[in-house]
Symmetry: C2
Subunit: 191 residues, 2 copies
DNA sequence: ACGGCCATGTAACTGGTTACATGATTAC
DNA sequence: GTAATCATGTAACCAGTTACATGGCCGT
C-alpha cells in the first residue's frame, strides 16, 4: 500500500510494462523508491484486479509478449488522494554507513573497498540522472524551464537525486582521505 | 538479518536498553537506518538467545526496570564478519518525493504543506546532528580531530547526515520557490 | 484529572527479499 | 556455444508495520 503510490506516479505520464518499470526502479526512480521485479509484478497484478490500472497485451514476434499497464480513472483518483495525505517519514537503509559507523571494530581495508565501490555506483547513477535532466530541459536553460516547463515534478525529484549523488561522491572522497591518513594500508590503490 | 548489524554497530561503543535504542534510531542513527521500537525489541531478544548480546537487568525504583544490552565476543565477531561482506545497495523510501514526482496530478497546496513539514523535520534533525558533532569534537578543531580523534566512524556518518539534511533544506527552498511561481496560491503562507 | 514520559512487550498483518523457472533472441 | 537481454512469473521465507496492553511517575 505504499509501493502502489510509487507505481501510480511512475505510470501516470507513461504507460509501461513490468519489465520497463523494473529498469526504472533501478535508475531514475531509485532516488526515492526501490523495488525488486517480483514486488512490481505482484503489485501490478493486484492493482489491475482492483481497477487502478488497466493492462493490454502487446504481442511481439521475436520477443515475449508484454503487458502494458496504464493508470485508470480510479487510479488517478487514488493518486490525487495520496497527494493529500501526510507522507510517511523517509526511511533509509544503508549498510555501508553501518560498516563505517563501526569502523574501529571492523576490517578497514574491506570497508575502504566498499566505499570505493559505492562511490563508483554513485557516479554511474549520477550520469544517468544528468542525462535525464538534459532530456527534460531540451534546449532551454534551467531558468526558462522553471518558468515555463511542463515536467516540474520529475525535474524536482531528479534535481534532488543529482545533489544526493554528488554529495555521496564528495563524502566518499572525504572518507577515503581520512582513512588513508589514519589507517595507512599496504599501497591503498584502486586498480 | 540486517537490522542486526545496525544494532551491533549502535551497541558496540555504548551498552543501551531497548528504549534508549528506540530513541537513537529516531535521531542519530536515523540517518542511515530506521526501525520501530517493536522491531528493536524483537531483534534484541533474538540476538540475546543467539549469544550475540548479553543482557543485564537494572532495577530502578520510581521507574520500570530496564534491560541493558551489550555486545558479546560472538557479537564482535559477527560485526567483524559483516564489515568484510559487500554492503547491500542503499534503499530509500521517500513518500514526499513520490508526491512531488506526480505534482501535476495531485493537490499542489497539500504537497506544498508536506514540503514545508519535511523541511521543518530536517531542521530539527540537523540541529541534533550538529549538537552531537560538537560533542564528538569537544574543544578540538575538525582538522585536529581528523588527525588524532578516536571516534572516526561516528564522525563520518554524522558528517554524511549533516550534509544530507542541509541538502534537504536547500531542496525544499528550491521546490517552494518554484511552486510559488508556477502555482501561485491564495496567500501561500507559513503561519 | 489528564496527558506525556519511562520501559517493555504481544499479536496479527502487510510488505519485501531470495531463489528458482521458462524460453526465445541477439551479440560476441 | 555462451552470456546478456527481453519478459513474465511462482513459492517460500524473512522483515517491517500497526494496533494494542501494562503501569507507575511527573508536571500542570
Amino acid at each position: 500500500m505504499a509501493l502502489r503510490n510509487a507505481l501510480l506516479a511512475a505510470l501516470i505520464d507513461r504507460e509501461s510494462s513490468g519489465y520497463d518499470l523494473a529498469k526504472k526502479f533501478n535508475s531514475s526512480v531509485a532516488n526515492f523508491w526501490t523495488a525488486t521485479p517480483q514486488q512490481l509484478y505482484r503489485e501490478l497484478e493486484k492493482m489491475e484486479t482492483e481497477g487502478l490500472l488497466s493492462a493490454r497485451l502487446v504481442k511481439q514476434d521475436k520477443r515475449p509478449d508484454k503487458r502494458i499497464f496504464s493508470v485508470t480513472a480510479a487510479g488517478r483518483a487514488a493518486l490525487l488522494g495520496f497527494s493529500r495525505r501526510t507522507p510517511k517519514p523517509t526511511t533509509v537503509r544503508d549498510e555501508l554507513l553501518v560498516q563505517v559507523e563501526a569502523l574501529a571494530h571492523g576490517d578497514v581495508a574491506s570497508i575502504r573497498a566498499s566505499i570505493e565501490a559505492h562511490q563508483k555506483a554513485s557516479r554511474t547513477r549520477l550520469e544517468g540522472y544528468e542525462q535525464r535532466l538534459a532530456d527534460i530541459l531540451g534546449s532551454r536553460t534551467e531558468k526558462e524551464f522553471l518558468a515555463t516547463g511542463s515536467r516540474l515534478g520529475p525535474y524536482l525529484t531528479l534535481n534532488r537525486g543529482i545533489t544526493f549523488e554528488r554529495e555521496n561522491i564528495a563524502w566518499a572522497d572525504l572518507a577515503l582521505t581520512v582513512l588513508s591518513h589514519r589507517y595507512p594500508g599496504p599501497e591503498s590503490g584502486t586498480s
